[in-house]
């Protein structure tokens, strides 16, 4: 760990502050590293990630499976077991640093200040307890209220997320709910204490399209109501485009590109982002045109490729001589509010985007 992480420098410059005290942003992640020692080697799931998020805004984190999205979100909630995960860096939530905080302090924040909507609501809800019970439990652990009050609150929440006849469904078990209803219940549970930070991990992946849209609407409505900050984790760029203000593209545990939605979709600067866009199905595209999948498979997080982690799959790596295979690109601010980690010269990237990529989309 002697090597200095370039991301740190970027972050430092972005923050413009020599002292590393409490930041002004509602959520700020600084040089987050989450490593898992295994028998097969050290898995660097997140390896130096930094970003900020304000109240009322939504950040979309995109990337392939295994790029470290979910690990990051669990890291923010402090859900990694200290015994099998090495977490370093800083996570500031509304003025409180979480990485160094005691387990118990973080626990108190969980569910109340920050909450999470999980990907698979069936497996994420305890099969032996009623939906109502699970919401009541979440509510009562942070609010000193009687069971009946909590129960009323649970019914309320279920109603708010659009479950019909919540007074009856409250006593049903998760397996008695349909997929969409279950996801709504999950959201109700996450929102039961009005969290200021909401992390949604692929909240719609398991659902069919109509339900997907309803759920996204619901999240948006709720954000307006509570002015929460939302982190939306997904590999579905469509979802991100619809909901997010900013996008963070992750690759191999690091940030490849950080941009506003507009920039990311219209002026992306990282070959990996191009690949993601190219593989996104679009309704307005000609049927005959084929998707352009990214070649190869995601890298091993134990033996991350030297240089740019994306280099084995990158069509443009040879444009830099051997730089891409030897030197890790730093995350630099290419344009205001638009950061990218790639060795290609900015102009070259713009050129490739305009001439080669965009027309094919």
């Amino acid at each position: 760990m002697a090597r200095k992480d370039p991301a740190e420098l970027v972050n430092g410059s972005a923050e413009q502050s020599g002292t590393r005290g409490a930041p002004s942003a509602f959520l700020e992640v600084r040089d987050l590293k989450i490593h898992f020692p295994t028998d097969d080697g050290l898995v660097k799931s997140v390896d130096g990630l930094s970003f900020q998020l304000e109240r009322g805004r939504t950040l979309g984190i995109v990337g392939e499976s295994g790029s470290g999205k979910s690990v990051t979100s669990l890291g923010i909630l402090g859900l990694h077991n200290k015994r099998n995960a090495n977490v370093s860096g800083e996570i500031w939530l509304d003025g409180t640093e979480l990485v160094g905080a005691s387990q118990n302090d973080v626990r108190r924040l969980r569910g109340r200040k920050m909450a999470m909507i999980f990907q698979d609501p069936l497996s994420s809800m305890h099969p032996f307890y009623t939906v109502g019970h699970q919401i009541v439990e979440a509510y009562r652990v942070h609010n000193d209220v009687s069971k009946s009050v909590a129960r009323k609150h649970a019914v309320d929440m279920l109603g708010r997320v659009g479950i019909p006849r919540p007074d009856r469904r409250v006593d049903d078990y998760p397996h008695q709910f349909s997929g969409g209803m279950r996801q709504r219940a999950m959201i109700a549970m996450a929102l039961s204490c009005d969290p200021e930070l909401l992390i949604a991990d692929e909240p719609t992946t398991a659902l069919d399209v109509t339900v997907q849209a309803q759920i996204l609407d619901l999240i948006r409505d709720l954000q307006e109501e509570f002015n929460s900050a939302i982190i939306m984790i997904t590999h579905d760029l469509g979802v991100v485009a619809e909901l997010s203000d900013d996008i963070l593209v992750m690759y191999a545990g690091r940030c490849a590109e950080y941009a506003s939605v507009d920039d990311a979709f219209h002026r992306p600067l990282h070959p990996y982002t191009w690949g993601l866009l190219g593989s996104m199905p679009r309704l307005d595209r000609e049927r005959s045109e084929r998707l352009m999948p990214i070649k190869g498979t995601p890298p091993s997080l134990i033996n991350v490729p030297q240089g740019c982690a994306f280099n084995p799959r990158c069509a443009y790596r040879d444009l830099n001589g051997d730089k891409s295979t030897t030197e890790r690109p730093e995350l630099v601010e290419a344009e205001p509010g638009h950061q990218v980690a790639c060795h290609l010269p900015l102009e070259k990237k713009r050129e490739i985007w305009e001439s080669e990529i965009r027309p094919k989309l």
Partner: protein, 332 residues
């Protein structure tokens, strides 16, 4: 729920019927195939050097020459409605469930089983209490402290434990704890009137084996459960770790262990044969073993049936409990 229980109950009865038929067939047909005649069987009942007339009388009294299905029918009938035997001077009614009369002791098999059952129960239940408490706690602790010295030591001992048969640990403790060092008196337990702590040695030996097994099971189950998404959810809700572990984790872990426990306790209640033999405790297992050594068919058959009954009953109870604990089972 009622329909669920009724369904399971019917299934259990069906299972018992099949088992009784198979057992009966094996104990009556295999020896016949091996050349044992009804005279031989009557001879077992008749004592020393019986003459032909005696054998004929005995065969007649017990119907040994009837076709096997008829004998099986009688056997079932006796279980359901009882049976009547001619003692020479009077008729003895053997009330249901009548499992017939022992060839050797001329006692009702049912009486013998009723006599021995409490002894086996004491062994099984005492040991079970011990192994569930010890095994499950160690398993949970190990899972929670995965990778620590405690976990490694506990799992090392548990692995050794599952490799230690009772007939080894039992004999070893008899040889040393009882005979060499005189730390405990001879294991002697004949019925409920005796001090149950006379069974401490069999309990420990039996429980050691099972506790090791359960510790491993619990740990594996716990590790799997604690990796479940709903545990992550529970933590994400900000529940205290204690609640997460015990209310959410342990409950889900214990359900499959309950199934294993049902099978184990059912098997033991029907006769802890090896433990009873090792410590020479006169329980159901010894009864069955003596029956085998004495070729006392009614006893062997009765003991097998009772043993099967306990297994089926234990499984039934577990099934029903499963329905109580796991709403998914109840609703399916």
């Amino acid at each position: 729920m009622v329909a669920f229980i009724v369904r399971r109950l019917l299934g259990a009865v069906g299972l018992l019927l099949i088992i009784s038929a198979v057992t009966f067939a094996i104990f009556f047909l295999v020896p016949r195939a091996a050349g044992v005649t009804s005279d031989d069987i009557a001879g077992r009942f008749a004592g020393k050097q019986p003459d032909a007339a005696t054998l004929a009388a005995i065969k007649d009294r017990f119907g040994f020459d009837d076709p096997v299905p008829v004998q099986y029918g009688k056997f079932l009938k006796a279980i359901v409605v009882g049976d009547t035997y001619d003692t020479g001077t009077e008729k003895i009614h053997c009330p249901a469930p009548c499992l017939g009369y022992s060839f050797r002791t001329n006692q009702s098999v049912t009486d013998q089983i009723v006599d021995r059952a409490p002894i086996t129960f004491m062994i099984a239940i005492g040991a079970a209490v011990l192994w569930v408490i010890v095994g499950v706690s160690i398993g949970v602790l190990s899972a929670l402290r995965r990778g620590t010295i405690f976990d490694r030591a506990a799992m090392g001992i548990a692995l050794a434990g599952v490799s230690l048969p009772v007939f080894f640990t039992g004999l070893l403790s008899l040889a040393f704890v009882v005979h060499r060092w005189n730390l405990l008196p001879e294991v002697n337990y004949e019925g409920l009137s005796d001090n149950p702590f006379n069974l401490i040695l069999p309990w420990i030996c039996l429980a050691f084996l099972y506790a090791a097994l359960y510790a491993r099971l619990t740990r594996a189950g716990m590790l799997e459960t604690m990796n479940e998404d709903y545990i992550r959810t529970a933590r994400a809700k900000g529940l205290p770790e204690k609640t997460v572990v015990f209310k959410h984790g342990l409950r889900a872990t214990l359900t499959p262990i309950m199934t294993v426990f049902g099978l184990d306790i059912g098997l033991l209640l029907g006769g802890a044969i090896i433990t009873e033999k090792t410590f020479s405790i006169p329980g159901l297992g010894q009864l069955a073993l003596d029956g085998v050594n004495q070729s006392d068919l009614p006893v062997v058959l009765g003991a097998t049936m009772v043993a099967a009954l306990f297994i089926v009953l234990a499984n039934l109870v577990v099934d029903i409990l499963y329905g109580v604990v796991d709403p998914r089972v109840r609703h399916s």
